[in-house]
């Protein structure tokens, strides 16, 4: 394509250039010829007029002299004889006065009788005499006694001069120089020169450099070229013109120079005036003009060629640019396609990888459900399990929301849902979710709360949870069995001002760590270290990308990490959070004395500080043995501890053994609470047996302590009674159910009929529309609509129903489908449905929504 265009352009360019050259060359040559012809023409014109002028001039000069002479002849009386001395004297005086050099009578026999001047001879007497005899005035050339040439003017005069001679004419003589100077035959500015010849070619008055007596001879010798013909032919032409008495014009070259010749006959004589004009000057003018013309031609040719070149170049450039643009567009399209393919692949990968993050809380739910079912007779245990299930479910919900909103995160449109968040609740939730996994891997899990005075902050709890879950589940995942995982929270004043608090969250493990290379990519999407060690660990590879996005981009915090392969990893998240403007509950308890027993000094100290802040004074110790000693000591003083907090895992004597010892010493009076980060379900029996009053869960926030200890302010604490949830009363409501699958219909029918709803089944969207149309107005109060149905889907059916001409066309329609992505929900609503429920069917949710829309 490109080459073809280039070739076409080049070919046409060369073609046009050649055409230009040809046309302009033709013009140049043609104009050259034309100018030569023009010179010739101009020369002829000029020469003819010049010759005419000379000829007229000659005529007038001769005419004047003739009339002078005629006047002389007039003075001669007819009867006088020439020998009359007086007359002769008179004639002489008059002739001299008229500047004649010679004067004489010319006889019929050709003899001169001079009145004055030396004796003259006529060079060619025949024609002269002939004319005079015929009574014609005539000019001729003669010679004087010294052989000098003299111009003779003959005026016929019938008077006899001498008795013995008949007098033919009175002849006056003038020097030749008189004629030639008067006619300016010699000195001529334009280098033109003239001479006079007779018909036979002999010179009458010759040019300066002509030494031959005959012009024709001179021509034969000197002339090189007579306009393409030979000298003889030229002479023939010339003589023929002379005989015919017409003017003759021609060109020839002599001595390397071009001349123009013009021949014309002179009056009063048998003479011919020949004028030469060298072309030199005119030639140079015309040649100059011709040159100028040529240069102009060449210049204009060049200009046109240049313009053409420019146009072609521009066009070529444009074509190339177009080609380039096409190429660019093609590449862009290719890139877009690649990107789309990549996105598609990433999406599939993402969907199939997603299981991990969902499994973490799901496992908690499944496990807790199993435990609850196994312990149906123990309401405390079931309550405990249900609480954890609730927490995990909430997290799972949040996570699924995240998956649905993944596109938002990817396109940077994720926004935070700021709300009041209790750090304690968040931490409790996280710990509860992680515990089953920690337990399954027999890892040691500790949570430390240092000096958290601001428990309530403004934050997006779902996102914060997500961050913590990601960090912790990674720690659990990548730490081998029996390893340690620490989570710590502490706060410090925020540089953002008094209304803010800076929270540090540290998650540390003794796991496999990360290679240096991978640490660079940890926050990329779908990043997972590719090595045999982590091959079996499942996950989406999205966790850290989302975490980083939430912490850094959305919340404006920082996330730091250091890791060493084989040693472990530490993540530290720092967030500046706004303090929630809530009335903190006035957490004050009676001024008890308490004992805190934990092998971690830091935990002891922070717990004691927290207890102090709620009005309790406390002692602490690091092991069971000393704790027993201290209790006994106080007991002996009669100043017993009111409440004892015991860690379960202690070096040496563990919490349960310690409790047993204390009970032995003090009896059952003092409440002993076991501190544990773990689910205490399985040790509960043993603990109760050893005399443990209750449990307190790590992390020990101020509010955790307050809430756990408050029950002991009253002697008898009644467990929190959950309010009896009474479902909405929907008995007798008629609902149309569009569902193509019989099994699903039966399940829905079974479950909802039990709640007193009257259901009617439509097998697809079309039937649903028909049944609704045929029903009396207001008969069906709501429609539960499946989306994917044969013949007519739920979206279309809804749209049809919404456009029916019925007053009840806007009855509640609730989508009930296995599609649960955000866009499905949106599409349902866009189609005019009121709400969207995902399968599996959740009776309570269906009832709640029906109740809501049936009001």
């Amino acid at each position: 394509m490109k080459n073809r265009i280039t070739r076409f352009l080049l070919t046409s360019l060369i073609g046009v250039a050649l055409l230009c050259v040809c046309v302009f060359t033709f013009f140049a040559i043609h104009m050259g010829n034309q100018s030569a012809a023009t010179i010739n023409q101009v020369g002829t014109l000029y020469m003819s007029s010049m010759s005419q002028q000379t000829s007229v001039h000659f005529e007038s000069i001769i005419g004047i002299q003739m009339s002078q002479l005629r006047a002389l002849v007039g003075t001669i009386p007819s009867d006088i004889i020439h020998s009359d001395q007086g007359l002769q004297q008179q004639l002489m005086a008059q002739a001299k006065a008229r500047d004649f050099a010679y004067l004489g009578f010319y006889g019929n026999d050709g003899s001169f009788e001079m009145l004055y001047g030396s004796q003259l001879t006529v060079t060619d007497p025949e024609p002269f005499l002939d004319s005079l005899r015929k009574d014609q005035q005539k000019v001729a050339i003669g010679t004087n006694a010294r052989g000098e040439k003299v111009v003779l003017l003959g005026m016929p005069s019938p008077h006899p001069s001498t008795p013995e001679h008949d007098c033919a004419a009175l002849v006056a003589g003038l020097p030749v120089s008189y004629i030639s100077s008067n006619l300016s035959l010699e000195e001529n500015n334009e280098r033109a020169y003239s001479f006079i010849i007779r018909r036979d070619g002999s010179f009458v008055i010759r040019s300066n450099d002509a030494y031959r007596n005959n012009y024709f001879e001179r021509v034969r010798v000197l002339y090189e070229d007579v306009n393409g013909i030979t000298a003889d032919e030229y002479l023939e032409e010339l003589e023929a013109a002379m005989v015919r008495g017409v003017d003759y014009s021609n060109e020839f070259t002599m001595g390397g120079e071009r001349y123009h010749l013009y021949c014309t006959r002179l009056p009063y004589s048998e003479w011919y005036l020949i004028t030469f004009l060298p072309y030199g000057s005119m030639d140079s003018i015309v040649t100059g003009f011709s040159h100028e013309w040529s240069s102009l031609t060449i210049l204009s040719g060049t200009i046109i060629l240049t313009a053409l070149l420019l146009v072609f170049y521009k066009y070529y450039g444009l074509t190339r640019q177009q080609l380039q643009e096409v190429e660019e567009a093609r590449q862009a399209a290719e890139a877009a396609q690649k990107e789309a393919e990549h996105a598609n692949r990433a999406k599939s990968e993402f969907l199939s990888n997603m299981s991990h993050d969902i499994r973490t809380p799901m496992n908690a739910i499944v496990g807790m459900t199993a435990i609850a079912i196994a312990n149906l007779k123990d309401p405390q245990q079931v309550h405990n399990c249900l609480k954890k299930i609730t927490l995990s479910s909430k997290h799972l919900l949040g996570l699924i929301n995240d998956v649905l909103d993944m596109s938002k995160i990817e396109s940077g449109k994720m926004t935070l849902n700021m709300d009041q968040v209790s750090l304690r609740e968040v931490t409790d939730g996280i710990v509860a979710i992680c515990q089953p996994q920690v337990k399954a891997k027999r890892q040691q899990f500790d949570v430390f709360i240092h000096d958290i005075s601001t428990e309530n902050v403004l934050c997006d709890s779902v996102r914060l949870n997500q961050v913590l879950i990601n960090l912790l589940s990674n720690a659990i995942k990548f730490t081998p069995e029996g390893g340690e995982i620490h989570m710590a929270l502490y706060e410090e004043p925020s540089p953002k001002g008094d209304n803010f608090v800076r929270i540090h969250i540290e998650v540390k493990d003794t796991g496999i760590g990360m290679s240096r290379d991978f640490q660079k990519h940890i926050f990329d999407s779908f990043a997972r270290e590719d090595s045999a060690r982590v091959y079996r660990t499942e996950g989406t590879g999205l966790g850290m990308a989302i975490t980083k996005y939430i912490v850094v981009d959305a919340m404006g915090g920082t996330i730091e990490m250091d890791s060493e392969q084989g040693k472990g990893t530490r993540f530290c998240v720092t967030l500046d959070l706004e303090k929630a403007q809530v009335m903190e509950e006035d957490m004050i308890l009676p001024s008890w004395n308490m004992l805190v027993v934990d092998d971690d000094r830091l935990l002891c100290e922070t717990t004691v500080a927290a207890l102090n802040s709620i009005g309790i004074s406390a002692d602490w110790t690091l092991d069971g043995e000393s704790a027993v000693d201290m209790v006994i000591k106080r007991h002996n003083r009669g100043d017993d501890y009111q409440i004892i907090l015991l860690d379960w895992k202690l070096p040496g004597m563990d919490g349960i053994a310690t409790a047993r010892s204390i009970r032995r010493e003090l009896g059952d009076k003092v409440p002993i609470l076991l501190i544990s980060a773990y689910d205490w379900g399985e040790i509960e029996g043993k603990a109760k047996e050893a005399g443990i009053t209750g449990f307190i869960a790590k992390p020990l926030f101020k509010s955790t302590l307050f809430n756990s200890l408050r029950q002991f302010t009253e002697p008898l604490q009644v467990g929190e009674k959950p309010p009896e949830k009474k479902g909405p009363d929907l008995r007798g409501r008629r609902v149309l159910v569009a569902e193509d699958n019989e099994l699903n219909w039966e399940i829905a029918s079974e479950l909802l009929s039990a709640e007193g709803l009257e259901l009617t089944w439509a097998e697809n969207g079309q039937t649903c529309v028909e049944m609704f149309e045929q029903s009396p107005v207001g008969y069906f109060e709501a429609i539960l609509m499946d989306i994917r149905m044969p013949i007519m889907g739920g979206y279309e059916a809804t749209q049809v129903i919404r456009t029916l001409e019925r007053p009840d066309r806007d009855l509640p329609i609730i989508a009930m489908t296995a599609d649960a992505f955000a866009e499905d929900v949106k599409r349902s609503l866009d189609c005019g449905m009121n709400a969207h429920i995902a399968k599996p069917i959740d009776v309570q949710e269906v009832l709640r929504l029906l109740d809501k829309y049936l009001k």
Binding site: L351, V366, P790, A818, I841
Partner: protein
């Protein structure tokens, strides 16, 4: 074989099903009915015929039924297949998943069959 064992055999979640349907009688009723459901046949036919919209709808229905019945294994594979078919993918990956769905369905059907026979048909 008890209903619970049947659920274990087909990798389902008995507790979830019980939680939803509330009585063993109902669970048993629907489990037995599951074999009569034509969606799987429709899926097989559509996959062979390369009919993507029908295959998608059938997979979608299976997903919905399994969600209601808490047949976890079949639910997961059919859900994945549904998503691929939703995206219009009938390629190797979809075929692979379809084989998984087939295997899960076979396992489910086998468990139910065994249960039915023991329950006295």
């Amino acid at each position: 074989m008890t209903l619970k064992e049947c659920y274990a055999a087909l990798n389902g979640d008995y507790e979830e099903a019980m939680g939803r349907l509330r009585s063993e009688r109902l669970v048993q009723k629907f489990v037995l009915k599951f074999l009569d459901d034509g969606s799987f046949d429709l899926l097989c036919r559509s996959m062979e015929a390369g009919d993507q919209p029908e295959a998608f709808r059938a997979a979608h229905t299976i997903k919905g039924v399994c969600a209601n019945m808490a047949f976890s294994a079949l639910l997961e594979s059919s859900s994945q297949l549904t998503e691929l078919l939703r995206a219009g993918d009938m390629g190797d990956q979809a075929q692979e998943l379809f084989q998984r769905v087939k295997a899960d369905y076979a396992k489910t059907a086998q468990a139910i069959q065994a249960f039915r026979e023991e329950a006295g048909g």
